[in-house]
Amino acid sequence: MGAGVLKSEYYLKFLLSKFNFKKIILSSILFRLLLLDIYFILLILTVTLFANLKGVPVKINLASPLFYFLIYTVFFLNFFYLAGFFMKVLFRFKIVATLGLVLLWMVSIFLIPELNRISLSIKAQQLPTNEEFNLKKHKTLMEFEQKVRDYIKREWDTIKRDKNRNEKRNEIMKRLAYEYQNNEYLLNLSRELVLKKRIERLINNYESMSIIYPSLYYSFISNEISSQGYYGYLDFLEYILKMRTDFLRFYLKKRYEYGDEKLVAYVRKNENIFKAKSYIPKTFWYGMIFTISYCLAMFLVAYSQLKQKVYQT
């Protein structure tokens, strides 16, 4: 639409005999952009209103991320509108401007995000693979089991001779279980936390890379808002690690402290369902600044180029 605003150089010159340059640009480019933005915002608000009326309520805690998303989407659309204007001026109103715009769109929507994804995937390959990581954890577990077996073998005669052998056995098992909780389990947990930190760094890096181009950031922000993004993934990792640790504590307590024999479910109702949250990325305003800067830069360059072209100096 941005490319279609100024129909042709001839039309612009015709208008210039009636209005001044600034007024034409302001009224044709910016005012139309403003109207389009208002139209888009009203459209989204109407859709949201109807969704509410038809029984799909937008909860209060979702309203804020959706509001930020709406603002970003408006500027993201403005980016393409102004890119159209920019291309039209850059290619001097020729038909090739449309081709250039299609190319820019393809590059922005497909090529750049794909390159960014490939870059992320290459960086992610530096992380240990699941097999390597799990084998390492498994090895620690096996070593612990071996330790337990050796210990029991050593102490077997003593246990057998003891009058309260059941209690003795239970006492040994409890000691070993707590030993496991305080050593091997913590070692494996710390490995998992280190890996989580590395993943976090990778995600932060990816987020920083996404800021620099609007289509990348739009994709990033839409994933985060729809709770399918990396912030949600990190939350999920934290959730399962915490749940597992809590379960281990719960089990050991029930088994060795209270001596409960009755089987009870640890997870109740929907506790095992992880509900990812919508997030406004912490870099939201940086992303906005970058996108607005792109828009401003394209507008100013196109404006000055157009002025230079019309008033050939």
Binding site: K7, S8, Y10, Y11, F14, L15, F19, N20, Q312, T313
Partner: protein, 231 residues
């Protein structure tokens, strides 16, 4: 009154070693040239779309070379309707260009009457109107401010006789109102119909030394003139 003094330019499309001419109020002055691009360049320079250093353009003895908002109505040739916003109706187009100024709009509608273009025909979209009708609307819009000076660039070329006659009638009305009109064209035959004075640009010079008056033009052999200045 339009007065051009020592207008020198050397552009890719054409050049001039110095144009000096004066168009008095109530007079139509035809400036002819063989090179179409050179005439267009001159028109663009006068409009201010091409900036050159050594030019002096006076309107009523005031140097307006550096000003951009001039009391001149500029009427360019309309070649392609698709250059415009063809989805608009003629009426919307007029309202947009007149910028809600009722006097301008009234003046446009009065001008359109000369071309038998009545209000009911203005409801059509630009893409559905004839080239002549759209051209008449553009002409009327260009003259809506009623400036005392008008500069045309080859406006009637290629149009049918009816349009040409209506245009001539409009020009005569404007001359009667005391406007100074400068008309840039290649069309010597049309020039012979309504010109008050005529000059030619050849090899960057204005020829003949003194512009040819209408009375003299009538007596002259057009073919000879053409061969002398435009061939």
């Amino acid at each position: 009154m339009i007065e051009i003094k020592n207008l020198v330019f050397n552009e890719e499309e054409g050049y001039s070693h110095g144009i000096d001419l004066t168009v008095k109020n109530g007079e139509i002055f035809f400036l002819l040239g063989k090179n179409e691009k050179c005439l267009l360049t001159l028109f663009e320079i006068l409009r201010g779309f091409k900036k050159i250093k050594k030019d002096k353009i006076f309107l009523d003895a005031v140097d307006i070379s550096q000003k951009s908002n001039l009391p001149i109505s500029w009427v360019n040739r309309i070649e392609n309707i698709s250059d415009f916003d063809v989805e608009l109706t003629l009426s919307d187009f007029i309202t947009f260009i007149c910028n809600k100024n009722k006097t301008y709009k009234q003046r446009v509608l009065e001008t359109l009457l000369i071309f038998n273009l009545f209000e009911n025909r203005l409801k059509n979209k630009i893409k559905h109107v004839s080239h002549e009708d759209f051209k008449a609307v553009c002409l009327a819009l260009s003259l809506s401010e009623d400036y005392p000076n008008i500069i045309f660039y080859d406006f009637v070329r290629g149009e049918d006789k009816e349009f040409e006659m209506s245009f001539n009638q409009l020009v005569k009305e404007k001359l009667g109102e005391g406007k100074a009109i400068l008309y840039l064209t290649q069309d010597l035959f049309y020039t012979c119909q309504i010109a008050d004075r005529v000059s030619f640009i050849k090899n960057g010079y204005l020829m003949p030394e003194k512009p040819i008056l209408y009375e003299d033009l009538k007596e002259m052999d057009v073919m000879k003139l053409y061969k002398q200045y435009l061939s």
